[in-house]
């Protein structure tokens, strides 16, 4: 890690509660209740207005001043939960904590436990305060809260027998698969159903017919995780969830690169195949094909200079993918680096001499931008427009969080997030904007 620089952390990003934007859609029949102040509510509605609608399955328990200092927030929270239940009938409620909950040292854990018993369905606390975490780590907190619903054993009706896992025992394959070890694979991360289907399909082609995913959209269908489980993260920011799985479940967490871009996807699949003793030779060909499919886009990207200011914690895998595309990543800024979970990505980037800046200082980045003269800057929503006015071409980091970027099939969508702004600039220049003088 010596080559990671660290700065003062004054950069532009979102608060972790913003992850409700995708989580409330991913987990069916859920409701996300954010316990916070007016600021939290105002932030969500102004920052995410484009992406969410007024009648979404989340709301706020807004803290108000009161002369009564109550020892526990359970009673007040209970009233709000009751209202939510009456309106939405959720099967699970996530209670998201915020800065004010931290500062006031409110114990939501205990309250949630009491309320789960009282209401007869899970009311789960998730630590999403902006003091502690950054943007996408909100997903980590929510997945962590869901872990108790991940069974340690398969349900009794379907016992996992030694050396003869039940899921292989139907159809014609039974005989062939007998020798397989009773290990299951669980991919972790809240990605879309279609991304999951693609990854499952790839792994099936490679000889792994059963691939579980956590979280499932249905809270009653979470996959088994125990000592027999091999866990592979799909997102780079799930560190607490992974740590708890290691500690409490004894599962093996595969350390690999993330399945982002053809290179990352290939390394990811190879790591899984080696772990399960499957042949990996076909992967190389798939990767080569995926790169061939990207060729027109690669031609645009090769030799370009791209800079990440740091926002959504996807920066390191994305930077690694870009270096494989022949891009010169002049700086990979990122809010936070978990050196263990990101070890392989870090190694690859350092081999390729990419400057990595953790917890960056936006002001210094602005100076470095003048030096680097990047062709593209990947930046948070709050500063893209001003940067464009300064003559830079930008991509919104938040788009990478909302787009489907995992696997071979999505690689084309991923790479277009980088080529699109470049093509747009070129198109504008060809069609009149050369007149303006400031956009060269």
């Amino acid at each position: 890690m010596e080559r990671v620089e660290r700065e003062n952390g004054c950069f532009h990003t979102f608060c972790p509660i913003a992850s409700v934007a995708w989580l409330h859609r991913k987990i069916k029949d859920s409701f996300f209740l954010i316990v916070g102040t007016h600021t939290c509510a105002h932030f969500i509605q102004t920052a995410l207005d484009v992406m969410v609608y007024a009648h979404s399955r989340f709301g706020f328990a807004v803290l108000e001043e009161s002369d009564l200092v109550s020892a526990s927030p359970t009673e007040e929270l209970g009233k709000v939960v009751q209202q939510v239940v009456d309106e939405w009938h959720p099967k699970v409620i996530f209670v998201l904590s915020t800065c004010s909950v931290d500062i006031l040292k409110m114990d939501l854990e205990v309250s949630c436990k009491d309320l789960s018993t009282r209401f007869g369905f899970p009311v789960l606390p998730a630590a999403t305060s902006g003091i502690d975490r950054s943007f996408t780590q909100g997903e980590d907190a929510v997945l962590h809260a869901l872990l108790p619903f991940v069974p340690k054993e398969a349900p009794a009706v379907e016992p996992v027998e030694e050396k003869k896992p039940r899921w292989f025992s139907f159809g014609k394959e039974t005989e062939k698969e007998k020798a397989e070890p009773a290990r299951n694979l669980v991919l972790i991360g809240a990605v879309t159903d279609s991304t999951i289907q693609q990854l499952q399909w790839e792994l099936k082609q490679l000889g792994l017919p059963k691939v579980d995913v956590f979280p499932d959209g249905d809270i009653r269908k979470m996959p088994v995780i125990n000592e027999q489980t091999v866990v592979v993260p799909l997102q780079p920011y799930l560190n607490d969830t992974l740590a708890t799985i290691r500690r409490e479940r004894g599962a093996k967490v595969l350390s690999t690169v993330f399945p982002i871009g053809p290179d990352g996807t290939a390394r990811f699949l190879e790591a899984i195949c080696s772990e399960f003793g499957l042949v990996t030779s076909r992967i190389k060909e798939k990767e080569a094909q995926a790169w061939r499919d990207l060729e027109p886009q690669l031609q645009i990207l090769r030799g370009k200079k791209i800079m990440f200011l740091g926002d959504n914690l996807l920066e390191l895998p994305l930077a690694r993918f870009l270096t494989s595309c022949g891009v010169q990543v002049v700086e990979a800024g990122t809010p936070y680096i978990h050196s263990k979970d990101l070890q392989q990505e870090l190694e690859l980037l350092q081999e390729r001499d990419v400057r990595i800046v953790e917890s960056p200082d936006f002001t210094k980045q602005l100076q470095r931008m003048q030096e680097y003269k990047p062709d593209l800057v990947v930046a948070g929503l709050g500063i893209c427009n001003p940067l464009e006015a300064m003559g830079f071409t930008t991509a919104w980091s938040i788009e990478f969080t909302f787009a489907q970027i995992h696997g071979f099939v999505n690689a084309i969508d991923l790479i277009k997030l980088f080529t699109k702004p470049l093509l747009k600039r070129q198109a504008l220049m060809e069609h009149g904007w050369a007149e303006a003088g400031w956009l060269e």
């Binding site: 007016h38 920052a47 929503l381 709050g382 969508d413």
Partner: protein
Amino acid sequence: MGGSGVARMKLAYWMYEGTALSGITRVAGSMQKVHTVIHGPQGDGYVNVMYSMLERFHTIPPFTLSTIGRREMAQGSRARLVETVRRVDAQHQPDIIVITPTCSSTLLQEDLLAVARTLGKQTKAKLIVPNVNAFRDLEHRAMDDFLTQFVAEFATEQPKTEQFSVNLIGPSYLGFHQLHDMQEIRSMLESLGVVVNAVLPYGASIGTLQELTKAHLNICLYHEYGQSACELLKEKFGMDYIVATPIGIRLTSQFVKAIGERAGLPVESYIRQNLAPSGTIARFTKSVDSLSALFGKRAVVFGDYSHAVGMTHLLREIGVRVVWAGTYMKTMEKAFQAAIGDLADEVFVCDDFQAISHKIRDTHPDIVFGTQMERHSSARFNFPCIVISSPAHILNFPLFPAPVLGYQGMTRMLDTINSTIKLGLEEHLVNMFGEDSPGMGEEETAQEQVAVTSDLPKAPDKTTAGEVELKWDAEATKALKQVPFFVRGKVQRNTENYARERGYSEVTLEVIYAAKAYFESKSNQGER
């Protein structure tokens, strides 16, 4: 927060008013050479997003976060604040640095004033700590207090301008069409022969604040904030003021007359000219089409105080009935009652988004005038809706001049109404003969129905004679279902063509993905 605790919780889905933080940054961010240091957690930098996205800012917004993180929680946040203020002072060299509290710093009971007092001796910039309760106060209250604080700090006695002049108090970034309003009022005043001495806060600097008293009259354009500053200028410097949001015929006349009286200028001809038969307002309102399209139509109005009152007036002036009118400015309930009690069938003051939504549903209005949230509600219940007040979305940060105030504002509003509800003759025909083709609103549902019925690739109707019918296996069918319905047909056709050309007899996931890669890389035009 003294000895009180935070124990009450209120369920809320959406907020009508912003926070004290957003109010302070609206005032400070609209001014010149004023930089704001926000002392709060990382997420509270979201004000940058509002300036950058909604106002399409072309410079880095003048806000710097003094981040309260884990370390600051453990060791105190004073050092971070001091460092940030010094850095901003050196880097941006503003005249004023506003150190603003946030909910978090307020709950932490940070004494920002003490920090400012010591630090202020070393910085070039003057340090100002807004005198607000960031936890409790809302946007407009904070704006009102903060403007007053600025005025109290900087205004000095000045000789009056020779010509009759006014200050416009109110226009600021992130307000509802406020900068467009400012232009309209400027040109209105110019036609009347009145000079604008200063605008506050938009574009104001320390110099502007010092010279406020050169004007003869203060005009507070929005009732929500700015009046306290006018009151202070009256007390301290004897400056006269009016509070008026000129929307529609009557309120605009009153506004113009009030100014004319004080300036000793004739204004009748200006009013007459704008309402003349040859003018746009009269031609629209008096037209036969508007008789059938608008007269007697049932509208509901909801918004902040100023816009809800103004729109209620305007609607009555074009013959529309206002079934109920409401505001979320609960503190102004009495004044609201008095202002429109005679014009609307019912007055409804409420800040609970759900309750308002339900009321709209139950009212079944012909048209809704509301905020962005009522737009959501109306879409849900299929009522036409026009946004007339904050909170608003990017659609209400238009590029082309789009004032709400004055005669131009009224003309523009009539155009918007015109393009939102069915016009008279069209509606007649529809009522008589039924809908010819699906209208805008129904289009999607209609298409969706088509998509549902022709949903799955059982018998592709486009198969020309001699072509082998392609089977889709279960996984491929599932994947196709995930494609949005409006492009599903195209994806299906493309995939099948691709499969046929390459001699596949069945569409599998492999074929879909290969086809996708093939077509996507072919279309290298940047569209996704």
